[in-house]
Amino acid sequence: MSLYSFFGCMFLAYGPLLSIFFLYISRDAQLVLLMVCSAFFWLIAILLSSVIWFAATPARNMNAVTILYSVILQELFRWALFKLLHRAEKGLMIVSKNPKSRYNRSVFAFVSGFGFGLTSALVTYISTLVQTIEPGVIMCPSCPKATLFFISAINTSLTSLQHITWMMIAFEAYLNLPTLLGFLQGAWVLVSHFGVSYAMLLNASESVSLGCVYAIIIQLVILAISITLVVLNLKKHYGAAVISRTQR
């Protein structure tokens, strides 16, 4: 590998995050703070996961088990974050740029999701990215023509986007609890999070040929569904306003 690979993988993994941050979030100090807060929640989740991993010696090499409890922990902290933000919503509204804007709630969810996505992308991929500067590579076991660095970059990028959509759907779901719609949306977040995480196991599989491609396809499908849900939710809330505004 070389600088080519380093920059290639870096842009691939962090391209969406970088552009969202510099073109949107960084313009608003409050959003940056919110992002940091959310990032901190994800970090605590992953810290607890590592404690469990460290303590559960026999299960250390069982990735399926590790995924199980770390996803559950992330979802718990997502819920905790929601609770916190919900309680602080009034205050947040006051300090926001447009205190009276009805879209703030969605913006907060988006930025919180970004915080989750950013931290997970940094934590999971940065040590791998560092290796790309050195000459040696490790090929992806299921796709021997591509390097693991490259495949991981794609997955990192997609997962960071997943986190944004999940947060937006989850906040919507938590607000709607205990209705059926709320349960369904919450379930989707959990199921798709598991789906994405377990699909990653295909990358390391030597028995499934082109496993990394399936993993990416699964990611894309889930992402597409999530985005659709987000758009539907947004339309539901703001559709009337948009229509009324356009009619005016």
């Binding site: 290639g8 804007s101 290796q131 040696g136 390097t147 505004r245």
Partner: protein, 695 residues
């Protein structure tokens, strides 16, 4: 597969631990061990003298690639070179294999192609099945080794003792060369990791290499290697010593005498019985030197043992016997020249005033910095004769028997006749000049004595008559036929012990007591211990040693008070044979360590021994120690001034690489993804602003 030689790694653990037991923590913390396979190896090092440097010269860059491929320029792809045609092909177009001893022309061809960036030399062990055969003779030494520092340096027609020599050892090489040789557990693990038997065929391929062959060197990812070895020293000895980036090549010589009361003015003549302790080869860590010079050293130790069994103590003889084992001899007779200089010039101790730059604790004198001053008791003018054992293992001598070389038949004539008369029928001792050609002395420490005083009678015993061993100072001098070698050495040692026994009493003939005979079992043990098993029971008698199997016989670098494993053994063995045990009543005074004994006694084999056995410093005669600065410097450019560069721990690792094209594609995809992200974000912002009046 490459046979090459060039390097050095002290017996320290520079190698990464084998990656057998990767634990989950490693996986979690770093991918590194999965990408790179670190290999323990023996690198090429730079040596310097008064006029320049030899050995492998690396540019200041830390990384080197093995066998660069022209299409990529930077990727060090592994190639195999087996034949001469392969070398030509490699330098012209598509490379393959290299299975030839490294000669100057081979390396030059490869180097000039600009496609070679390093060589892994498989110094195949003879015990490895399927290893390529070795050339029948290969000596990287010069045609007349160390002759410029010897007795005949100014002679017009010096005899060519080493006609096979190709002087590779003196070549500055601009590429890194590393050796792979499975001589111990660690290196065998490395070897195994890199190499694999292909079916049951005789060929061994580098496993990674074989993969590249299958991939036709074109289908990436390919396996590559890089080296990291930084040589600190540059230019020449004077420069690097001043900068503190090199150390003198040398070590500790040993001298020992059974006469405890030896003094300079007791008027007794002295017989020096000598051998060389160190050897030399391209890869210093692999240096063994079974012929040169372990065999001579073993013979000398066997003689010391035989004479110690004399019914009449040798100490009571009218002549003194002094055993000398010189270190650093391969480097311009460093040990013997320094010893001769020290005992032939008046010793004047001027203890340092001011900052003490003598690193020896409890030094007898701080300027000159010496451990003891007992060498002053050896009066150079009293030295009557020098008996030296050169290579005597008879590893490839067709005719049995030994040859006695002399400088001058008149001064050494009677000594020669004495030795010839004591030879036995199967391993006779003959006059090397018996064919009518007087070749004078072969490369030997005796030359250092004669250089100072030509009238000393001298005799150099060897298994060759006309030319040195075919593997002289080569990494291939590592084969030992234990039975043949020990019977030959034992027989010679017996003859020599009898001759010296007679000579020490001024006799030319007579009956020598049967006790004065070399112990063949001892010879066998010595050979075994010094070649392949330093942890053997013989050495365990003297001190505990663990996990030392084959040790290097390169003298390494000199440090005040420093003692190598070889010197340590020689000291204890000679001290034991020539020492006197102090009796506590009827039983010997026992001890656990030297602190249990009285002053000037040593604790050898659990008893307190007083003996005239001492270490003596050995480093090039052209080097001196500056007591003001605490640095060595070059004081005489015409004398040996060898120094070894300091170097960082070497690394060699194997890993996969992708093609540059592949990497550029990755970059393009990454950039496209970033750009599209930016565009989408900008578009969404605009859209939302327009429709929702937010963001």
């Amino acid at each position: 597969m490459v046979h090459l030689p060039f390097l050095h790694l002290h017996h320290r653990l520079y190698c990464s631990p084998p990656l057998d037991h990767l634990v989950a923590e490693d996986i979690a913390t770093s991918l590194h061990p999965y990408i790179y396979t670190d290999l323990g190896t023996w690198p090429c090092v730079r040596l310097l003298n008064a006029t320049g440097s030899i050995g492998c010269q690396f540019a200041l860059t830390m990384k080197f690639w093995l066998h660069c491929i022209a299409t990529t320029g930077t990727n060090g792809i592994l190639y195999q070179l087996n034949t001469q045609d392969d070398i030509d092909n490699f330098s012209q177009n598509m490379p393959t294999n290299f299975n030839l001893p490294p000669t100057r022309s081979n390396l030059q061809t490869l180097e000039s192609s600009k496609r070679l960036s390093g060589v892994i030399a498989i110094v195949n062990s003879t015990s490895t099945p399927g290893s390529p055969s070795r050339p029948s003779s290969y000596s990287p030494e010069s045609k007349c080794p160390n002759c410029e520092f010897g007795l005949y340096a100014n002679d017009a027609d010096q005899y060519t003792w080493n006609p096979n020599g190709n002087s590779m050892i003196y070549e500055p090489v601009n590429i890194p060369i590393f050796a792979l040789d499975p001589i111990d557990t660690l290196s065998a693990a490395t070897y195994k990791q890199v190499m694999a038997h292909i079916h049951e065929s005789l060929s061994i391929y580098l496993q990674d290499l074989n993969y590249n062959i299958e991939q036709n060197y074109r289908n990436y990812p390919l396996r590559a290697v890089d080296f990291s070895l930084f040589m600190w020293a540059a230019v020449d000895s004077a420069t690097c010593l001043r900068r503190g980036w090199c150390f003198p090549v040398g070590g500790s010589s040993i001298y020992s005498s059974p006469s405890p009361d030896l003094t300079g003015n007791d008027g007794k003549p002295i017989i020096i019985v000598s051998a060389t302790m160190d050897s030399r080869s391209v890869f210093h860590d692999l240096t063994l030197g079974v012929e040169n010079d372990i065999s001579g050293m073993v013979a000398m130790l066997a003689v010391a043992d035989a004479l110690s069994k004399s019914p009449t103590p040798v100490a009571s003889f009218p002549k003194h016997i002094v055993y000398t084992l010189f270190n650093g001899e391969a480097w311009g007779y460093s040990g013997s020249q320094r010893f001769v200089n020290d005992i032939s010039s008046p010793f004047e101790c001027k203890n340092i005033t001011g900052t003490n730059t003598c690193p020896i604790k409890g030094a007898a004198c701080t300027q000159p910095c010496v451990r003891d001053t007992d060498f002053t008791n050896i009066n150079f003018d009293n030295i009557e004769s020098v008996v030296e054992f050169s290579s005597v293992a008879q590893s490839n001598a067709s005719a049995k028997g030994f040859w006695a070389h002399t400088d001058d038949t008149t001064t050494s004539g009677s000594l020669l006749q004495l030795f010839i008369s004591q030879g036995n029928s199967t391993n006779s001792i003959q006059d090397a000049a018996s064919d009518g050609v007087h070749r004078k002395l072969p490369p030997s420490s005796a030359q250092s004595f004669l250089k100072k005083k030509r009238s000393i009678a001298s005799i150099v015993l060897s298994d060759f008559q006309t030319s040195l061993d075919g593997y002289y100072h080569s990494d291939y001098d590592d084969m030992l036929d234990l039975a043949t070698a020990s019977s030959a050495i034992c027989s010679l040692a017996s003859s020599a012990a009898r001759s010296i026994w007679l000579s020490a009493q001024g006799l030319n003939n007579g009956t020598v007591p049967a006790q004065v005979t070399a112990d063949c079992n001892l010879v066998t043990s010595l050979l075994d211990c010094l070649t392949q098993n330093y942890s053997c029971s013989l050495i365990q008698q003297y001190y505990g040693v663990n996990n030392a199997a084959r040790i290097t016989h390169y003298s390494s670098v000199f440090s005040f008070g420093g003692v190598s494993l070889l010197s340590l053994f020689a000291f204890n063995f000679l001290g034991d044979k020539n020492g006197v045990r102090r009796m506590n009543g009827t039983s010997p005074a026992s001890c656990q360590s030297i602190t249990d004994c009285q002053a000037h006694e040593y604790c050898i084999r659990g008893t307190c021994v007083s003996t005239l056995t001492r270490y003596h410093d050995s480093y090039g005669a052209g080097l001196g120690y500056n007591y003001g600065t605490g640095l060595f410097n070059v004081i005489d450019e015409s004398a040996p001034t060898w120094t070894e560069s300091t170097w960082n721990p070497p690394t060699m690792r194997v890993y996969s690489v992708t093609s540059t094209r592949h990497q550029v594609i990755e970059l393009v995809i990454g950039v496209l993804w970033l750009v599209s992200s930016i565009i989408i974000v900008l578009y969404l912002k605009r859209y939302l602003k327009k429709t929702l009046k937010i963001a």
